[in-house]
Structure formats: C-alpha cells, structure tokens
C-alpha cells in the first residue's frame, strides 16, 4: 500500500514536471534538453521536489582589491599542449574576470532542512577533460555515485591523482587519448585532484548528496535552481580565499539573489579540504537565525 502511494506521488510529480517543461519550452532550450535527457536516464527515481512550489538562488561572486598576478605555466616541454593555447597559459589558482568577478568558486547548499532526507536522482555522467594540459573544468560539483568521465584529449601521459580525505582516492594513468570513469560514494567538499606529470595541473571536485551546486563562471555568475521553499545555508568555496556562507530564504516561485564577496586580503585564508557535508547538522542555520 505504501509503495503504491509512492508510485502515485511520483506519477503526479512526473506529470507536473512534464507539464511545466512544456510550459517553459523555448525559454531555455538547452536547459530543458539537458534535464529531459537526465530524466530519461534516471528512470529509477524522479526528482522529489515539487517544481510548482520551488524557488531558485542566483547570484555572483564579487572580487575586491587587485587581482594577484598568476605565474605563467611553462609548457615548453609539451608542445602539443602549448599549441592549444592562444596566449600564455596561466596558473588557475585565482581567475578574476574582466568584470571584476571571481571565477571557479564552488557555491553549494551546505544545510537546509527542506531537503533533509530527500533522495535525488543521480544525474548522468559529468565530464572532466584534460585539454591543453589543464583540467576543464578546474572546479566542478557532482552528486554521490555520479559517474565522472575523465577524458584525456591531449594524447600524452597524464595521471589523475585524487586525494580525498573522507573516502578512498585513486591514482590513474592515461598515457593516450582515452576515457576512464570514476565516482565518489561519500559527500566531501572539496576533493583535490592533481596530475603529477604536469605539476601545475590541479582540479577540485565537490561531492554532494543533492544537486544544488554551481561554480561561478566567466562572468562570476552561479545559480541553484528548483529548491524547495525554506531556509538554506549556502557556502561559497575558493581554493585560495577559503569559504563564506550566507543564510538564504527561498520562497515558492521566488528567486533569491545572493552576492558573495572575496577580496585579495583573504589570500591567507584557511581553505577547508575534505569537509564532510552533513545536512542534518543545523548548528549554522540556528546560529545565524
């Protein structure tokens, strides 16, 4: 009986979901195409969030002070990679955009009672590419057990050395153009990856039990969409400037606007690595309220 009820519920969600997609059709074609393909793959589980009462968080990451000068990467030993870059490739630790915003900031829901205990479908594989002897993307988020396709587009030796602290890592070689699959079974923010062959190549992966994560882009923008209404602690993580968090209230159908500001003065910040993410820990939410 209980199972039946669940199925009925799921069917209702699916119906509402597909209706909504039809309604939004044309507004953002790429987005809806992405979610429909994800939905078709994840047949075992549907998104438990009722889109009719959901809201969004959008925002940007501002940067104050003068952008630190990054070192140029010496790729003279790897002409294949050097030739893929039009200019001099630079170390990606701090990437300040032309509009004064900060790239590569991992923004994610750290706490939120509204999504406690919710089971989200696992999205299809995320791509981590090694192209021009840099990781693309440099920072990414995935869900627990989500497949990560690690691609070598350079056709020369890379090794992918993942060093999480909450779970077991791996150190895998890719001597030719090829792909391998990996996944992480435990939530952790963040997991460092490096290529030992090319000491400048680093990447960070955030692993969560939910899909509410984003990385600030070339305009400093990020977005977390289709969140159930409620209060959330949203954290922004940067590999050099550490973390910041804000409590954000999401209302049904509303869009909360959030701005994080990092500054050049934070260069010596403690950067948390390998922090377990426990949604059941509400100490921060209650503290701030």
């Amino acid at each position: 009986m209980l199972v039946l009820k669940k199925i009925e519920k799921l069917a209702a969600f699916t119906l509402v979901g597909s209706l909504l997609m039809v309604g939004c059709g044309g507004a953002d074609s790429s987005d809806s195409a992405g979610s429909s393909s994800a939905a078709s793959e994840a047949t075992a589980m549907e998104n438990p969030v009722d889109p009719s009462t959901a809201g969004n968080i959008v925002g940007s990451v501002a940067f104050e002070g003068s952008a630190p000068a990054m070192d140029a990467i010496d790729m003279s030993g790897e002409s294949v990679c050097a030739n893929k870059h039009s200019g001099t490739p630079m170390v990606q630790t701090v990437v300040v955009n032309d509009n004064g915003t900060l790239s590569n900031v991992f923004v994610y829901v750290k706490e939120g009672s509204a999504i406690d205990g919710m089971q989200f479908p696992t999205p299809s594989a995320a791509l981590l590419d090694q192209d021009g002897c840099v990781y693309s993307p440099h920072v990414m988020g995935v869900m627990v057990d989500q497949e990560i396709t690690i691609r070598n587009s350079d056709g020369l030796l890379h090794n992918i050395n993942a060093t999480p602290t909450e779970q077991r890592g791996f150190n895998s070689s890719q001597p030719v153009t090829m792909e391998t699959s990996q996944d992480f079974g435990t939530p952790e923010v963040m997991i460092p990856l490096r290529c030992d062959v090319h000491g400048w190549m680093t990447a960070y992966i955030g692993v969560l039990t939910h899909p509410y994560h984003s990385v600030s882009d070339g305009s400093g923008d990020f977005s977390l969409s289709t969140l159930p209404e409620g209060d959330y602690v949203v954290e922004a993580w940067h590999e050099q400037y550490g973390t910041q968090s804000q409590t954000v209230t999401v209302t049904a159908g509303g869009t909360a606007d959030v701005t994080f500001t990092f500054s050049a003065d934070m260069a010596n910040a403690v950067v948390p690595m390998g922090t377990p993410v426990d949604l059941h820990d509400h100490s921060l939410v209650t503290d701030q309220q």
Partner: protein, 516 residues
C-alpha cells in the same frame, strides 16, 4: 547452596584465561607498535614520530590507510598479507628496516591488526581483494625490446627518464600526497625498489601504482584496452633489465687493470671502460659531525680503474638526475632543505651548489692494517684528496687532517679530470701519474692494497659541506706487471715434458722390438 557457589566459582575461573588471552592479543599489537614503530610512525599512527623529521620519504601515516605496496586496486585497502610483507621486507631505500627476523610471527600478526585500528577505513567485514596479474611471461631479448617500446609509448620516461635513472622532465616537481618531495625511482638500482626487486614486484607496482606517491596504476589503462597484459609484463621485464642481473655484492677491492703499451683512458667516452664491470660501493649520509645529512641523493658509486705503469685512471659513475645547479630543480632544493631536520646550520637552500665528488686516500701508505680516520683523517694520519666539482673544469688535489681542515693545492696539479653528465648519470674520470714529485701526494705502487673511499654531493638536493654522502674505506689494487719468468717457465716445462714423453715412447718401442 554450596553447589551453586562452587559452580559459579568454576565458571568464573574458566572464563579468566579466555579473557586474558583476548587481552593479550590486543595488547601484543599495541605493545609491539609502541616499542618498535612509534618512534617514527608516531604513537597515534599519524606518521609524525619524533624521528620523522629526519626522513624523506616521511614514515607512513596509518590514519590515511594509504599503502604503497598492494596487490589490490589503486585506492583499495591492502590485504593482511600485503601489510605483513611490508613489515617483513621493509622499504629498501628508506629508513624502514626489514622486520623479518626481528619480530616473532605472533607479534607481526598482532601488529597488522593493530595498524588497522588507526584508520576508520578498515571495515570489519570487507576483505580487500587482490587483482589477478596473470602469470609472468618469460623474458627474452624480444620481450625486453617490446618493453622498451611500451616504456616509450606509455611515457614512463616522463618521470623515470629515458634510461630510467629518475631524471625525467617531471621529476623535479614530484611530491607525495602530503606535499613532501618524492623522487622518481632510479630504475637502474632494483635493490632499492620499494616493494621488491624482481619482475613480479615491478609488475605489481605498475598495475596497482604506489598509492600516496605520484606513481599511478596502469590497471585502468589495461581495462580500457589501451595496452595488453603481455605488453605491461614486457614493461616490467624491460625495467628489470635496467638493473644488473644480480644485486652487486660487496667487493672490497677495485682492481686497476694493467694495460701495457697503451695510454690510460682519460676520457669518459674511451671504449676500454666497457671492458670491465666495475665495483659498486654503497654510500650513506654523513651523520657523524654537524651539520649532519639524513637525505643523501647518491646512494652508491660504481668504480673502475686502469693503469699502464706510468699513469692511473679511475672512473667513478653514479646516478644523479641533474647537473647542479639547475634552475628546474631550485624549488626541489628549497623544499628538501626546509623539509629535512635537523637544521644544524647547513645549506639554507638559497644560492647554487654544484655536484661534487671527493676520492680519499691516505697521505702515506699505512703500515699494517691501520687506516686514517675515514672522515678526512686526523693529525696523526692525514689523508690525500681528489676533488671534482660540476661547476669547474679541473680537479684539485688536497689534503686534510680532520673534517674542516681540507686544503687544496692551487698549483702544481698532477691530476686531470673529465666529468660528463648524461641521462641522469655522472661519469667522472680522474687521471694522475703513479708517482709525483709532491711529497703530500700518495704514490701509487702496484700490488699494494691502497685504501680508498668516496664522498659525493648532489647540490640541487641541498647538499654541500658536511651534508652529503660518504663510504667507508675500500681498496684500490694496481695490477702488477707479469714477471718475465712467467713467459719463460711454462714453455720450458712444456718442452721438457714433450721430450720426456718422446723418450718414453722410444723406449717402449725398443722393448717391443726386442720382445719379438
């Protein structure tokens, strides 16, 4: 009532030994660990024992449960047998000794279980599974050649270097998972391979990687169909072929072969050097006088020598990934210097230091077995030195009466030198007349066991002054010219024997005729 009491008593007594047994087993691991392991690995297993700062690589941090030597997949936990093997065999080339004969079997077993308690990654129920490596293929010239092709194709040389001496382009930037400098293995010295020296050990390291270090696993490459198991075995055979067939035995004497009517080889490129194997002489860090050095790069030198009755040439070769000072290694150098304890006023990591080699002899041949103090002699028994530096084209002769008293002759040098760095190896040839006019130079007399020892420094590994590697005393023996008698006596003896034989045959024939 009494019966019940007695029964209770019996029951209690029966349980005591059981509980004691259980306690002892738990305790044995801890007691053994605290006594023998904690000094380096720390009481809490974090790898931060009081001696850890003297070591590179640092002692294993057991809380991460990251083990290099495994038959299990990259990132997987080791099997009990893997851990037991690591305890038994130690880690050659590091401070970790082999505990094979030093601990009892129950102690080692208890230790394995105790080590697991440091990490939350060891589950109670899941037993780590070993990978199937197939069987070792047989080696042959073709297999080794195929291995070389694959070594190039999968780019082992990026870190290990073209000739395998740990001098690949990526080698100066290699660090382990805790950020400490991690040298790429010198594949020409299999007796220092962490995890064993034979082809099976090499194959295991390739397949499962060395977790916690930059060495990745190649099982994923195999699974992706990029390389076959046979080809990976060929790589292992090729790597094995880079080291001598047998671990070089300890040989006390370097023979300087006599080459009459020829000039001695003054150049590294002289082909006559290929005619002799040479003697391997192990070196260790200088840890007697301050500032000490616990992280020597040069762990051994190969020595060959020739003389022609007039001059002597001694060739010393050793693995060193670069010709110091080299800008590419400056970060490595400062990292090593800041990593290593103790700070005793040695190299600060700032400024450039060359690679160096010093060959040491007694100033006068000792009478009997008494040799000078091996650390640059003393006032009673001074030493005579040959000094070569990578940033200088000449070699200097010098003398010393103890550490810090070295002085080198500016003029009247009788010593010439050629040093060549190629493929992660220094080859340095010293040439000198056997006899010189200088009374502070040792005369090289044939047929005598001349004490000889070595000091070596890798500048970009933070080594200079007292901070370097050294050997104990060995001997240099110059082959004596064969006395003329050797050429006369044997033919004479042969002639005589021939004549006697002929005489006997004649006599026999004569007797036979008489009998008929």
């Amino acid at each position: 009532m009494d019966t019940i009491r007695i029964m209770l008593l019996v029951l209690t007594v029966m349980t005591i030994p059981l509980r004691l047994d259980a306690l002892q087993e738990d305790d044995l691991g801890k007691v053994t660990y605290d006594r023998w392991c904690s000094e380096c690995h720390g009481v809490d297993g974090s790898g931060n024992g009081s001696a850890a700062g003297f070591m590179l690589p640092r002692p294993r941090n057991f809380t991460l449960a990251q083990y290099q030597i495994r038959t299990t997949a990259s990132g997987d936990l080791p099997t009990d047998q893997n851990m037991l093997d690591a305890i038994n065999n130690g880690a050659p080339g590091t401070a970790m000794p082999a505990w094979d004969d030093l601990l009892s079997e129950p102690e080692k077993q208890a230790l394995v279980q105790y080590l697991k308690t440091f990490s939350r990654f060891f589950p109670d129920d899941e037993v780590p599974q070993s990978l199937d490596f197939g069987g070792s293929t047989r080696t042959s010239e073709e297999v080794v050649a195929e291995g070389r092709r694959q070594y190039e194709a999968i780019e082992c040389w990026k870190c290990h270097g073209d000739q395998g001496r740990g001098d690949g382009e990526s080698s100066p930037t290699l660090v382990d998972d805790t950020g400490f400098p991690a040298a790429a293995a010198d594949l020409t010295e299999n007796w220092f391979f962490n995890g064993g020296d034979d082809v099976e050990d090499i194959y295991r390291a390739i397949r499962t990687g060395l977790d916690g270090t930059p060495m990745p696993n190649f099982s994923d490459v195999l699974d992706a169909g990029v390389i076959t198991e046979e080809e990976l075995w060929a790589v292992a055979h090729y790597v094995r072929s880079l080291s001598p067939e047998e671990v070089p035995g300890i040989s006390e004497v370097v023979q300087a072969r006599l080459i009459e009517d020829l000039d001695v080889p003054r150049s590294v490129a002289d082909e006559i050097w290929n005619e002799t194997e040479g003697v391997y002489i192990p070196l260790v860090g200088q840890i007697i006088v301050q500032p000490r050095w616990f992280n020597p790069r040069v762990d051994g030198v190969w020595v060959k020598a020739f003389h022609n009755g007039e001059d002597i040439s001694v060739m010393v070769r050793w693995s060193d990934p670069n010709n110091s000072p080299d800008q590419a290694w400056s970060d490595w150098k400062s990292q090593v210097v800041t990593t290593m304890e103790p700070k005793e006023g040695g190299d600060t990591g700032i400024g450039a230091s060359p690679d160096q080699l010093v060959v040491q002899f007694p100033m006068q041949m000792p009478e009997g077995m008494e040799r000078p103090y091996f650390l640059k002699g003393d006032s009673r028994r001074p030493v005579y030195l040959w000094e070569w530096k990578s940033d200088r084209q000449t070699a200097l002769e010098g003398e010393a009466r103890g550490v810090g008293t070295e002085s080198f002759q500016a003029e009247g040098q009788d010593l010439s030198v050629e040093g060549v760095h190629k493929d992660g190896q220094w080859q340095v040839v010293f040439t000198r007349p056997l006899l010189t006019e200088d009374e502070n130079d040792l005369d090289f007399i044939t047929g005598e066991a001349i004490p000889m020892s070595f000091f070596a420094w890798d500048g970009d590994n933070g080594e200079s002054g007292n901070q370097g590697a050294l050997s104990s005393w060995y001997f240099l023996m110059l082959e004596e010219a064969t006395p003329t008698a050797v050429y006369v006596a044997p033919p004479l003896a042969m002639l005589l024997a021939g004549a006697l034989g002929l005489l006997m045959v004649r006599n026999a024939q004569k007797r036979e005729k008489e009998n008929i």
